[in-house]
Structures are given as C-alpha cells and as structure tokens.
C-alpha cells in the first residue's frame, strides 16, 4: 500500500500508515515482525500495545522512535516523517538503561549536555524533573545505589527532562514486583497528566492495560497486525475492581487467548517439522 499524501489530521502525535517490518529482509533468516499497521494517536492520548510475546509490539515502538527503519509504510509524528530518533519522542526501556558512571542528576540531564547546556541550567532542569518523580533527594546518588523502581523513575525523569511530546515505554515495569508496579502505574498517570504528552506503552499484562489506557491496541501473533482496538472508557481515577473493569479484562483476555493459542500451535508445528 502506498500513501502519497497524508490522509490524517497533521496535529496527530503519531500516525502509522501501512507500516511493516521484516528483520534480516532478503536473507534466509528473514522473518516478518509487523504487517500493515495503521494507527493514529492523538496528542495527550494514552495508548497501550497489548499482545503475546514476540508479536512485534516493541518493534513498532522502535519504528516510531526512529531507532529502526520500517520496511514498508511510513510513520509520521506531528506531521513530520519519522526518519531518525528525536528528543521529541523519548523511549523508556524494560531493563535499566541509566548510565552507571553518571550520578542520578547527570543521567537526567544527559540530553541537555548533548545540546551543550551549561551546568547550572542542567542542574536546574534535573532538579525539576527529579522533583516530579519524587526523587530529588537522590540527585547525587549513583544508579546502582537505587532500587529497580527508583531506577525506572529516574529513567522517566530523564525522558521528561527532554520535554517530549511522545513518551514511548517498552514494558517499563515488567521487571518490578507487583506492589511496586501498581505504585509506578499511579505515578506514571500523574506524570502523564502533568506533561500532556502522548504515551505509547507496551505490555503483555492485561491488568496494566486496563489500569492505564485510553485505548488498547491488541496485536495478533507473528507477524504482528492490529487485531482490534479496544477503547477503555472508564473514568479516571479508575476503580479497577468495578464490574466494567472486570468486563474489559475478560474481553481482553479472550482476545489475547486466541493469539496465544495460535502462537503455541505455530511453535509446535515448527518443532514437529524440525
């Protein structure tokens, strides 16, 4: 599919048209990760990508970040074609991605030092960003002195310091324990409300999707396509024990189960032929 002219509102935070990605294209190891993704994300919207492991939802995030090039189709962000990474689209990873040789505040202001900002300015911005994630007291600490949850908060602060318009999060809370994850979700919603940025959040946790999303994009298993988009119309702050929340969880579980079953069947077929 080809789109010569954008057929969408240029104000949209992220627009994907016919996006596909094939890894190692043209070789014998080639495998298709994503196919024909069409997606619009409004400014300030919270969108969760939900799907079985290996369905390409993280790949889509990397394409939107500009870290990888799409094999097919095009990604736009605020009417600019995405061709390279940009500070406007910050990416937060599952594993700790803090620089271990820098202090917390130096980590947070890393992007500013790339731009050549003065130390005073960097400190000021770092202080403000860390204040927003409740870690101002840990400014002078090193990443290995912090817990997993604190490190991810620093990573969020580092992303916020760039004042991004789009926050891309690749299973950021997957490595955390259940209690910490629930706290981090509340924290993220606060940050999101204050910053006004769009959030694209990858997870395979249905509970997390229902707790966070305005819309949940459900992916099929390999190659990843958009199976359906489920709007979560629960008022915020959300009561996750309500009947409506439970109904949504059941709906999403059913949608996912088909895909997981299909992925398993494929894997069994593969191992049978091998």
């Amino acid at each position: 599919m080809a789109f010569d002219a954008p057929t969408f509102s240029s104000k949209d935070a992220v627009v994907c048209r016919g996006v596909g990605k094939t890894w190692a294209a043209g070789t014998r190891r080639a495998h298709e990760a994503l196919r024909e993704i069409d997606l619009d994300v409004a400014p300030g919207e919270f969108v969760v990508f939900l799907g079985p492991s290996g369905c390409g939802k993280s790949t889509l995030l990397y394409l939107i970040a500009g870290l990888e090039d799409a094999t097919d189709g095009t990604v736009w962000s605020f009417s600019d074609k995405v061709e390279a990474p940009s500070p406007e689209r910050s990416l937060i990873f599952q594993e700790t991605s803090l620089f271990p040789w820098l202090t917390v505040w130096e980590n947070v202001s890393f992007g500013l030092s790339i731009r050549g900002a003065s130390k005073a300015e960097r400190r000021l911005v770092a202080e403000e960003a860390l204040h927003r994630v409740g870690l101002k007291a840990a400014m002078e600490k090193r990443p290995d002195e912090l817990s997993g949850g604190m490190r991810q908060r620093v990573a969020v602060a580092r992303a916020l310091a760039m004042r991004p318009k789009v926050l891309l999060m690749d299973e950021p809370f997957a490595a955390l324990d259940v209690q910490t994850r629930a706290r981090m979700q509340d924290f993220l919603l606060d940050v999101w409300r204050q910053s006004g940025a769009s959030v694209l959040f990858v997870t395979h946790h249905i509970d997390e999707a229902v707790a966070l999303a305005d819309r949940v994009v459900v992916f099929t298993s390999r190659p990843g396509r958009i199976k359906t988009i489920v709007p979560i119309d629960l008022p915020r702050p959300r009561n996750l024990f309500s009947r409506e929340a439970e109904a949504l969880r059941i709906q999403l579980t059913d949608l996912l189960r088909d895909e997981v079953d299909r992925a398993f069947a494929e894997q069994e077929a593969l191992s049978a032929t091998a």
Partner: protein, 312 residues
C-alpha cells in the same frame, strides 16, 4: 555510637607483652578480615608456603642446590649476583670488574631500564590499539580495510617479529619497545572491538533518542562503557609485556633483565636465574597492584562483586 573495645586490645601493651596467645589471636583476627594488613599477611603466607616447600625439598636432598638452589641460597648471594647486572656499563673495554656502580645500583639500573621498556611499550600499544579499535567500529571503510589484516597478524608469535625488530631498529631500546608493542597491539585492537560490540544497545539507543551525534555516542557512551573491560585487558597485557620484554632483551640490548637471564644461562648460574625471576615476580606483582588501585579509582561506579563470589 559507643565503641566497646575487645578486652585483648584495651589492655594494650601489657597484654601483648604478657601473653603470647593474645598476639596470635589478634593475628588470626586480622587475617580473617579484609584489611590491607590481612592481604599482606596472606600474600606473605602464600609466598612463604611456596618457598618453604622448596626449602624442604632442598633439606631432604630432593632438589640439587646446583640446579634448583632454594631461596635462601639465591637470595643470600645477592651481592655476588649484583655484579652481573648492568653489564653494559660494567664490562667496558679498559675497565676492571671492580669499577663501576655497586651491586645494588646495578640491579636498580637494570630494573629501571626493563621497567621503562615495559611501560613505554604498554603505553604505545594501548593508545594505538584502543585508537585503532575504536576507529574500526567508527568507520565502516576503515573496518573493512584494516580488520582482516589485524586478525591475520594477531596470532603471530612475538618471536617471529624479533628479526624484524632488529632489522628496523638495530639494537638498543628501539627493538625491545617495538617487540612489546607488536606483541600487545593486535590483541588490544581485537579486545577493543569486542568490548565495543558488547556495549548494551539500550545505552546507545538512549543517547540516540536524545539527539546525540555519532561522535557524542562514542565519546560519552561507548568509551566509558568499555573502560572497565579495557582496564582488565590492560592488566592482562601488563603481564604480557613483562613476558615479551625478556625475549627482546635477551638478544641485542645492552642491559636489562633478559640480558641477565641469558648471561645466567650461558654461564650456568641457576642462582642468578632464580634471583632474576624473583625480581621480575616482585616487580610484576607491584605494578599489577598499582594498576588495580588505579582501576578502583577510575571505575568508581562498579560495585565490588568479589564479596558475592566468596559466599558461594
């Protein structure tokens, strides 16, 4: 916080003088800890054990003192052996054996000369090796042009380079330093490339999303990220340099530890061989210790994992 001193310490001099066991207990307490004193004690014990076994072999007549002289013999004759060091200034035409520097001075001059060659070679090899390694990953054309040749040359033994060293540099410091450089350079290039390939992709991706240029990514992410690994490589190469420098010196250089070993071989002097080995061991150990201290200062962000391994 109140400090309650253990009784054997609080009683001080009186206890130390009065009871032997208290001193022994204190010694064991020190050795159980992780202090510098404990490390020194354990090092002495380790070396002492080795020397003791050797002395025992001599005592029972298993080790012929003419071939394998135990430590008390080869260390006892330092003054005699010293005259074989610094042969360049000692054995000059028109000078008698008794002229020139004292035995101690000769040993020091020789040690200084060899150490200088080791560190010159190590420094040149490190700067060139890391520089070329980074350049290989930085520039794809340079990678394609240079890496195959480097990989081809890296298994060549330094011995094979010896004639080349003499052809190009003649005799003196030149060939010795060249030998150290050539023995380390190729490995350091390959080690640097391997280290760069091992940098966590997320660290690079973070810098990329923040708009860092290629140069900034190399300078601010890749170089600090590979520093721990590179310092470990440097430590290994320090030992490598000590090994190679002896080969280089055994040929054409006027004086140096390698020259002393060759002299000992030619004059059938096992005491001199073992004395030189002991000196090299002490030097290598000391410089490795210094490098480890430097490593700890430079890599302030790395946690100490040795403790965890001890619990296994």
């Amino acid at each position: 916080m109140a400090v309650v001193a253990p009784p054997d310490v609080s009683s001080g001099v009186a206890a130390a003088g009065a009871s032997r066991p208290a001193a022994v207990v204190r010694l064991f307490a020190t050795m159980a800890g992780e202090s510098l004193a404990a490390k020194i004690l354990w090092t002495c014990l380790s070396v002492g054990l080795f020397a003791g076994l050797w002395e025992l072999c001599w005592f029972f007549g298993w080790a012929d003192p003419k071939l394998l002289p135990p430590p008390h013999i080869f260390l006892g004759s330092i003054v005699d052996q010293g005259k074989f060091f610094n042969t360049a200034t000692r054995w000059q035409v028109g000078k008698s054996m008794t002229d020139g520097p004292s035995a101690f001075e000769s040993v020091m001059v020789t040690i200084g000369a060899t150490t200088m060659r080791v560190f010159s070679g190590l420094a040149i090899a490190s700067v060139l090796g890391v520089g070329v390694g980074v350049l290989i990953r930085y520039n794809a054309l340079f990678d394609k042009l240079v890496l195959p040749t480097i990989t081809l040359l890296s298994p060549v033994s330094p011995i094979a380079w010896l004639p080349v060293a003499i052809f190009i540099f003649g005799i003196g410091n030149g060939p010795a330093i060249f030998m150290v450089v050539v023995a380390l350079f190729f490995h350091m290039v390959l080690a640097t490339v391997t280290q760069i390939d091992g940098v966590a992709p997320n660290l690079i991706n973070v810098a990329r999303t923040m708009g860092a240029s290629k140069r900034q990514i190399y300078g601010r992410v890749i170089v600090p990220a590979i520093l721990p690994g590179m310092l470990a490589v440097l430590r290994m190469n320090l030992f490598g340099a000590w090994m190679v420098v002896l080969i280089a010196e055994s040929t054409g250089v006027g004086y140096g530890m390698g020259q002393v070993i060759m002299l000992a071989r030619n004059t059938f002097n096992p005491s001199l061989v073992f004395f030189t080995i002991a000196v090299i061991g002490v030097l290598g150990f000391s410089f490795d210790w210094l490098l480890r201290q430097a490593q700890r200062r430079i890599l302030y962000w790395l946690p100490d994992t040795k403790e965890k391994l001890r619990g296994l």
